[in-house]
């Protein structure tokens, strides 16, 4: 393994633990209310949208239709694995025909 990869993996392992530990160590001090807390709570949704939107929008009709169908399955079932399998089936089928 190259030094840069080893450094990245070590830093990631430390950061992953530090984020979880920080809630315990700083729990009394971190604002979980007010605007600072709200900003933290807005982040996960915003990051997921930012990750997914370009690959959907910059895709094509197959991606657009598969996204709508997958969202319907996700909304109905709320099942992580089920939705991932359904999404895989939709995009595979749509790319055959579109």
């Amino acid at each position: 393994m190259t030094p840069d990869a080893a450094l990245a993996l070590a830093a990631l392992a430390f950061a992953a633990f530090a984020v979880r530990a920080s809630g315990i160590l700083l729990g009394g001090f971190i604002p979980s209310t007010g605007k600072a807390g709200q900003l933290l709570r807005e982040m996960p949704g915003a990051v997921m949208v930012s990750l997914a939107a370009p690959s959907v929008i910059n895709g094509g009709p197959a991606e657009w239709l598969a996204t709508v169908l997958t969202a319907a399955v996700a909304w109905k079932t709320r099942s992580l694995i089920g939705t991932m399998v359904a999404g895989l089936a939709f995009i595979w089928a749509l790319r055959q025909v579109v």
Binding site: G27, E42, G45, P54, G87
Partner: protein
């Protein structure tokens, strides 16, 4: 709120209680691990890199973002920033769990927090709120999930070499599907469109104008700050619990 009559505990009995409820979590973690392994191989990670990552990070969404950003040489700052952004919720979850752990030695509190992921945290908090006091429960949930996540990552990575073009099998869309279902859990009515619409528009625009994966950072910041213009939907604990219900 935690009962003041029973002190916080972390015992083998709690670990056994967690183990009883662990099988469905271990199964879904394993399937997801295979998918992550395949995608990691596609992204050009070495087998050891995928395995070490799964064993030490244990967080699917963050790892997917990391392999998306992975390059040679590895952009250390970018991958760590990505993890911090995606895993910021783990800090909120630990903050919410802390009142139920107070009284335990610090190392036991940290041990319980170190295995937090969305699903085992939600189950643990549900128990705590019923008056259950043993944090061993979350360790029992994670005891086989972490090794399974790591082992199935390696299996997927080995299989991944055989899946020549991820697009051909639609594997590139699996991540999108995962984010869609996670986002459904975070939907809080029409005002939700404000942060998400801004994030989407800025990310798509930035994907044309900025190099690499910067559109993720820019879109996230724009969307998060735009979200401050709506009323705060709810507190961190309630929000996270509802997201998993």
């Amino acid at each position: 709120m935690p009962s003041s009559l029973t002190p916080a505990q972390l015992t083998w009995r709690g670990v056994r209680d967690g183990l009883k409820l662990a099988p469905p979590l271990v199964l879904s973690t394993s399937l997801y691990g295979i998918i992550f392994g395949v995608l990691a191989a596609q992204a050009g990670l070495a087998l050891a890199e995928s395995g070490i990552m799964s064993a030490t990070i244990f967080a699917g969404a963050a790892q997917l973002l990391i392999i998306e950003t992975w390059a040679r040489p590895v952009p250390v700052v970018a991958v760590v920033l990505g993890l911090l952004v995606v895993n910021a919720r783990h800090m909120l979850m630990a903050i919410a769990m802390r009142p139920h752990l107070v009284g335990l030695p610090l190392w036991k509190q940290l041990l319980a927090a170190s295995v937090i992921v969305d699903d085992n945290w939600a189950l643990m908090m549900g128990r705590f709120e019923e008056g259950y006091r043993d944090a061993g429960f979350i360790l029992g949930l994670a005891l086989f999930a972490v090794p399974a996540w790591t082992a199935m990552t390696l299996v997927g990575h080995v299989l991944g070499g055989g899946v020549a073009d991820p697009r051909r099998w639609g594997l590139d869309f699996v991540i999108v599907a995962m984010f869609i279902v996670l986002l459904c859990g975070r939907w809080r009515g029409l005002p939700t469109l404000l942060p998400w619409g801004v994030a989407a528009a800025v990310a798509v625009g930035a994907s044309y104008w900025l190099p690499g994966k910067w559109y993720i950072v820019v879109g996230t910041l724009a969307g998060s700050f735009a979200g401050l213009l709506r009323a705060d939907p709810e507190g961190p604990l309630k929000a996270a619990l509802r997201a998993k219900s």
